[in-house]
Amino acid sequence: MEGFGVSLAFWILTGVTLVAALGVLASRNLLHAVLFLILLFVGMAGYFVLLSADFLAMAQVIIYVGAIAVLVLFAVLLTPRAGRNNGETRMFLPALLLCGTLLAIILFVITDTNWAVADESPSVTAADLGEALLSRWVLPFELASVLLTVALVGSIMLVRSREEEAEDAV
């Protein structure tokens, strides 16, 4: 990570991401919060590009911005308007304290740690990733597909109505 351009990009990304994160927390309207969340995801993708993790950046955009954010939007749109209020709750102060403490601890640990810095930025292509997934990581990779199947079966079971179930019972 050298050069003025990279530093500039880093600070711009940091600004955008922080504003987006605060926006998620501060918006009263749940819909706005989701839009800020999308901006946050895009900012994270930018970090991945800066770290030369191009594939990860693409995946971040496609999965988080493309799929998850849209899913969240749909969920919000299907929620009754009364349930969309993102206003104050009794837990505001305890949550703030808890998060503040956690933030302090993490900041302390980050500065206290002697991080190992890579000499050169690694270059990993999508082909490398594919090969790794199907050689060393083949077991977790296959398990992930079992996991998805199970999740599909389970979610179908949970959303089926009583009538559909009755029809099915032979």
Binding site: V109, A116, L139, P140, L147, V150, V153, G154, S155, M157
Partner: protein, 487 residues
């Protein structure tokens, strides 16, 4: 083929899960067969595990992401046994619920395979995937009842479980960032080489990992979901959660700490974390259990206390040298003993509540006169949970407390023994209600055949481990030694 052979026990379980769905689709009139397909798969899995014991040719596989050692195989037996008991105990309930019979068993089996992978994973990534594979079916199963209570249980479990997974991942990411490897052996090397310089990072990472798994173990302060989920979830599922999920979490944490983070820099630090969590869990679980009037909630709180007991074995991790494996083998034996005992208790509760339609302890009055077998087995399991000989629970407690004494943690053992006294009050209180109080009605009853079988096996296990603990104790010791082999 070699690859499949190495994951044979899990593979058999997953095949049975798929087959259950296929039978449902192809032979819709033969749905009664499905639980037996599941049982056949589990039997095949056990046979495969036995063949590995016979071959005695343990090895790592898949680039070190999985290891097939005595430790893993020991837990294969435990988890296959748990799943078989749960399948037997579910048959009546699932038929009455009248929906998705195949899916129910497929989810139970998939989750069992996840447990088995957890016990044999030696890499943070496969550990995480295996954890999710075991958890997601449980979230769904907890909500299976679809009434208000069950849906609440499912949703609560899902949301808190997702947070726990996120916390766990954060801890794993920190570990990876520091050691630059996800493999447990590599982590051990990096931790040993790193020295004291990065102690604070290591402690933060480990605390987050403990928090993530602590949710599955149901130790304080990650226990808030337990009573509601146990009460709301279908009782066979609650039984499954209480032994399977807890056992798997302890299996993986024991491997993680004894292999990846064992005699490293900060092992005194996490010995202390474990000891404090154990003491608080035991005390909290027992004190809260006293006031319960619902037997499922009581068993929920008691399972928190039992998790505290098991964790005493993890606190003994700081013992060095020859006795290093004592804590680990205590954990292993305790998990096996606890599996038999708690399953027995839950299955008796299933059989009783099917008949009397209530989970209130007061309604158990005079159960001895109505169904001597059920009351007898439930009482036996409660005695074992208290830790009184001649039951499995006695040796389990003796073993973990002994390891804590060797680790110079006498204070923890004193807390544990005091807690056992407190627990005797409410465990034996239930027994007293069943044996002394007058029943509301006199009609006697017998549990259905499938429940009787699983109940008989559980009771036999509790007594066998109590009377002749030798073979299992030495198997647990051998299993723990394979963990220490890394050094």
């Amino acid at each position: 083929m070699n690859g499949i052979d190495l994951v044979g026990p899990q593979f058999a379980v997953l095949i049975a899960a798929g087959l259950a769905l296929v039978v449902d689709a192809v032979l819709p009139r033969q749905r009664r067969l499905i639980p037996f397909v599941a049982l056949a798969g589990l039997a095949l899995s056990v046979a495969w595990s036995i063949s590995w014991v016979a071959r005695d040719d343990y090895q790592t596989a898949f680039g070190g992401t999985l290891v097939l050692d005595r430790y893993a195989v020991f837990f294969y037996f435990v988890f296959a046994g748990i799943a078989a008991a749960v399948v037997l105990a579910s048959i009546e309930w699932v038929e009455r619920a009248g929906r998705g019979q195949a899916e129910y068993y497929a989810l139970v089996l998939a989750s069992t395979a996840g447990f088995m992978f957890l016990a044999s994973s030696r890499d943070l990534i496969s550990i995480f995937i295996a954890l999710e594979l075991s958890s997601i079916p449980q979230y769904i199963l907890a909500g299976w009842g679809k009434d208000e209570r069950s849906s609440e249980a499912g949703l609560k479990y899902l949301l808190l479980g997702a947070i726990a997974s996120a916390v766990l991942l954060y801890g794993m990411a920190l570990l990876y960032g520091f050691t630059r490897t996800t493999e447990l052996g590599g982590i051990a090397d990096a931790v040993a080489a790193g020295g004291d310089a990065n102690r604070s990072l290591l402690i933060l990472a480990v605390a987050l990992v403990i928090a993530g798994f602590g949710f599955k173990m149901a130790v304080v302060p990650f226990q808030m979901w337990v009573p509601d989920v146990y009460q709301g979830a279908p009782t066979p599922v609650a039984a499954y959660l209480s032994v399977g999920s807890k056992g798997a979490a302890f299996a993986v944490v024991t491997r993680l700490f004894f292999e990846g983070l064992g005699p490293g820099v900060a092992s005194d630090d996490w010995s202390m974390i474990f000891a404090v969590v154990a003491a608080v869990s035991m005390t909290f679980g027992n004190v809260m259990a006293i006031a319960q009037t619902d037997i499922k909630r009581l068993l929920g709180y008691s399972s928190i206390a039992q998790a505290g007991n098991i964790m005493v074995g993890l606190a003994a991790i700081s013992v060095a040298g020859e006795e290093f494996v004592l804590g680990a083998s205590g954990v292993i034996f305790f998990v096996a003993a606890y599996a038999f005992t708690n399953l027995g208790a839950f299955i008796a509760v299933i059989a009783i509540s099917q008949r009397i339609g209530s989970d209130r302890i007061a309604d158990y009055a005079g159960m001895w006169k109505r169904s001597p077998a059920l009351a007898g087995v439930l009482a036996l399991c409660l005695v074992s949970l208290t830790g009184i000989p001649p039951t499995a629970g006695f040796w389990a407690k003796l073993y973990v407390f002994n390891s804590a004494i060797r680790a110079d943690m006498a204070w923890l053992v004193i807390i544990g023994v005091l807690n056992s006294l407190v627990s005797a009050y409410y465990y034996l209180g239930i027994a007293k209600t069943m044996f002394v109080a007058q029943p509301a009605e006199e009609a006697t009853f017998r549990p259905p055949l499938t429940l009787s079988i699983s109940l008989g096996v559980a009771a036999a296990g509790v007594l066998a481990l109590g009377l002749i603990p030798g073979p299992v104790l030495s198997a647990a010791h051998d299993a723990a030694e394979t963990l220490a082999l890394v050094y």
